[in-house]
Symmetry: C2
Subunit: 347 residues, 2 copies
DNA sequence: TTGTATGCGTTATCAG
DNA sequence: CTGATAACGCATACAA
C-alpha cells in the first residue's frame, strides 16, 4: 500500500493562481524579477507564498543542464582529515550556490567505481576526488567529457586534473629539521603501507632523500600494518638498536595514533623518545606532554578545491593546475628532549 | 568564455545506435532486461557501451518523482558523533540504492532553514534531521506534504516524526550506577548550555531525578560555557568543597574534552578524581589512565534512521515511531579509584 | 516481444 | 513587458 505523496506546488499552479504565464513565474524565480511589472511581480509573489511553491531543482537541472550539484568522493569518511577538508568544501559550495553530494568509498576500489558512476548520473557539475584505488580510466573519461575534476591529496599521474593538497616534500623537510633542531639524531619514519597513495610515497621518498643528503643523520623507514603488534615490534626494535635521542616521524594521523599506543605500551615517555606526526588531531594536546604535529590547512584545501572547480567550470580550457599548501608546525612536549616536566602547559 | 560541455550520451542516441526504440533501451536500464529478446538485449548493451551511456538520474527523478536521494541535515559535521552516524546512514543508503545529500548547518538556525528548503528543492525522498534550532514549522510542513522524516538524537515535541537516538535516561542511570559502584560519592554533572537540545535536557533532568531518589548520593549540575576558564573554575570549586571521592560526569564528547583539559590544568590525576564521559572518542584510551566512556551505537543509529525512512516511504500512514538504543560502557582507568598504577593496559 | 505517444517541471526561444 | 511553445531525458500507459 504505497502512499507516495509529497505533493509540491508547481510552476504552472502558481501561474494559474497568479493569473500569469509560466514564463513570468519562471522569470520571477530565475532572478529576472526586474523585467516584470510591479503588479505582476506582486501577484506572483503572493501566489507562490500561498501555495508554498519552491522551484524543483530536478526539473531545472534537466532543462538547463545545471544541476547546481558538486560531488565529493571521499576514500574514508571517518578520517578526521577528510572531514575537515569536507567542511571547507561544503562551505565554499554554499557560498557559491552549490550543494554537495558526498560519496564515501571506505577505501574500496569497487565501491569507488560504483560511486563515480553514481555521481556522474546525477550530473554533478564538478567533482572533488580523494581516490582510494586507481580509477584512472573512469576519471580520465569523465575529464574528457568536460567534467571539471580536482584530485584531493592523492593524485594519479595519468589523469589530467587539478590537484590540491599538502606540499609533502616541504612537510618532511620541516619535520626532519624540527627533530634535528630538538636534538634527535636517530629517526624512524613510520608510514602506513604505501600502496597507490601518492602522499605516502612522496613522504617516504623525501625522507630517504634527506637521509642521503645528510650523512650525519641516521634514519630508517618502515611501513608496518597498523593493526596488531607490528608497530610496537618495529618501535621496540628500533629503540633497542639506537638508544637515546631517537624520534618517530609518523606519516599521517592513523600512524600517530598507533605509534602513541605503541610507545605507551612500551612504557617510554614521550619526548625522551621524540614523536612528531603529520596531521593535527583533537587529542594531540591532551596526551602528556602533548604530541607535536604538522597540521594541514584543511579548510583552505577544501575551499581551494571548489575554487578550482569553479574556475574550470568557467573556462574548461585551462591547463591542469596544482596547488600545494605548506604544513604548520605545532611543537609540543613530545619533541622536547630536556626539561620534560618543567611545564604543565601542553597546549 | 564559458565552455559548458559535459556531453553525455542520451537514451535516444543509444536507441538509434542500437536500432531500437527508446522504450526498449529504457527497459534495458530499468531492470526489465528479461523482457527483451537476446538479440535486442545484446545490441543495446553494445551500443550503450560504445557510447558510454549512463542513465540520467535527474531526468529519471523528474519523470517518476523518484529522485533516489535521501537528505541528511547535520548540526555540526565536525562532531565525531555526527560523522559516525552519517557513516551508518550512508551505508544503509547505498545498500538500498539511495544516495545521500548532506547539508551542514554549523548549528546556525538561519542556515538550517536555508538548507531545509534546499534539500526539499532537490526532492529528496526522505530526510534525516539533526536539528540545530527549532525549525518546527518548516519540518511540520514537510511532514504534512508527505515527506518521511526522522529526527536524529535531538527531537522537537511539536513535530510528528520518527525519532532515533540514545536512551538518555538509561545512559545516565548506567553512568551514575557505575560511578557509585566504583566508590565515587560526590558527582558533578557537566553539560554544555542546555538550549533547545533535547538530549542535553533529558540527561540533565535524569541526573536531577537520581539525586532526588537517592539521599545518600551527593551531586551538583553545571553547564558552563566550554571556551575559556569556566570549566576549570567550576571543577576547581567543586573539588575544593567535596574533597575526595569526587567524579565528573560529562554530558557529551565536547564536555569530556574540556573536562580533561581542566583536570590536567589543575594537576589532578584522572581516577583519583573520577571522569566518565558520554560519547566514545578516538583518544579516550590514550590519555592515561584511559578515560571511561559510554559509547553510543552510532552505526546502528544511522542505519535505523534510514530504515525508518524506507518504512515510511512504503507506508506513509504509520504512526510516529521512536527507537532508542542503550549505551555501552567502556570502563577505563579514569573511573578507578584504587590501584591507579598497577596496570599499564588502559585500553 | 517491441514500439508510439504523452507528460514530468522547468527554461529558452521566439513572437506579440 | 508578457506569453505561447518547444525542448530537456526519461518512464509508462497503451497499442501492435
Amino acid at each position: 500500500m504505497s502512499v507516495r505523496a509529497s505533493r509540491h506546488a508547481t510552476l504552472l499552479e502558481v501561474a494559474r493562481e497568479a493569473d500569469a504565464s509560466k514564463t513570468s513565474v519562471s522569470r520571477y524565480f530565475g532572478g529576472e524579477r526586474e523585467r516584470l511589472s510591479p503588479a505582476l511581480r506582486q501577484r506572483i509573489g503572493e501566489a507562490a507564498r500561498r501555495l508554498g511553491y519552491r522551484p524543483n531543482q530536478i526539473a531545472r537541472g534537466l532543462k538547463g543542464g545545471r544541476s547546481r550539484l558538486l560531488g565529493m568522493l571521499v576514500a574514508d569518511i571517518r578520517n578526521p582529515y577528510s572531514i575537515a577538508v569536507m567542511h571547507g568544501v561544503e562551505q565554499a559550495c554554499r557560498e557559491h550556490g552549490y550543494s554537495l553530494l558526498v560519496a564515501n568509498t571506505d577505501n574500496d576500489p569497487a565501491q569507488e567505481r560504483t560511486h563515480l558512476a553514481l555521481l556522474a548520473s546525477y550530473r554533478v557539475e564538478g567533482l572533488v576526488v580523494n581516490v582510494a584505488g586507481s580509477p584512472t580510466r573512469e576519471l580520465q573519461d569523465m575529464a574528457d567529457q568536460g567534467l571539471p575534476l580536482v584530485l584531493l591529496d592523492r593524485w594519479l599521474a595519468e589523469v589530467e586534473a587539478d590537484v590540491v593538497g599538502l606540499d609533502n616534500p616541504l612537510a618532511i623537510d620541516m619535520a626532519v629539521d624540527h627533530l634535528r633542531r630538538q636534538g634527535y639524531r636517530n629517526l624512524l619514519f613510520l608510514s602506513e603501507p604505501l600502496g597507490q597513495a601518492s602522499p605516502r610515497q612522496q613522504r617516504w621518498q623525501r625522507f630517504e632523500q634527506r637521509l642521503a643528503d645528510e650523512p650525519t643523520l641516521y634514519g630508517e623507514r618502515r611501513a608496518p600494518p597498523l593493526g596488531g603488534e607490528a608497530v610496537e615490534d618495529v618501535v621496540r626494535d628500533f629503540l633497542a638498536r639506537t638508544g637515546r635521542s631517537a624520534a618517530l616521524l609518523c606519516a599521517n594521523g592513523n600512524v600517530t595514533l598507533a605509534a602513541t599506543r605503541a610507545l605507551q605500551a612500551l612504557g617510554v615517555p614521550l619526548g625522551e623518545v621524540g614523536l612528531l606526526g603529520i596531521d593535527e588531531l583533537d587529542w594531540c594536546g591532551l596526551v602528556p606532554p602533548g604530541i607535536s604535529t604538522l597540521a594541514q590547512p584543511t579548510e583552505a584545501i577544501g575551499r581551494a578545491a571548489v575554487q578550482h572547480l569553479l574556475a574550470r567550470l568557467d573556462d574548461a580550457t585551462q591547463p591542469p593546475r596544482r596547488t600545494l599548501y605548506p604544513a604548520r608546525l605545532n611543537a609540543r612536549g613530545s619533541t622536547r628532549l630536556e626539561g620534560l616536566n618543567d611545564n604543565k602547559e601542553w597546549q
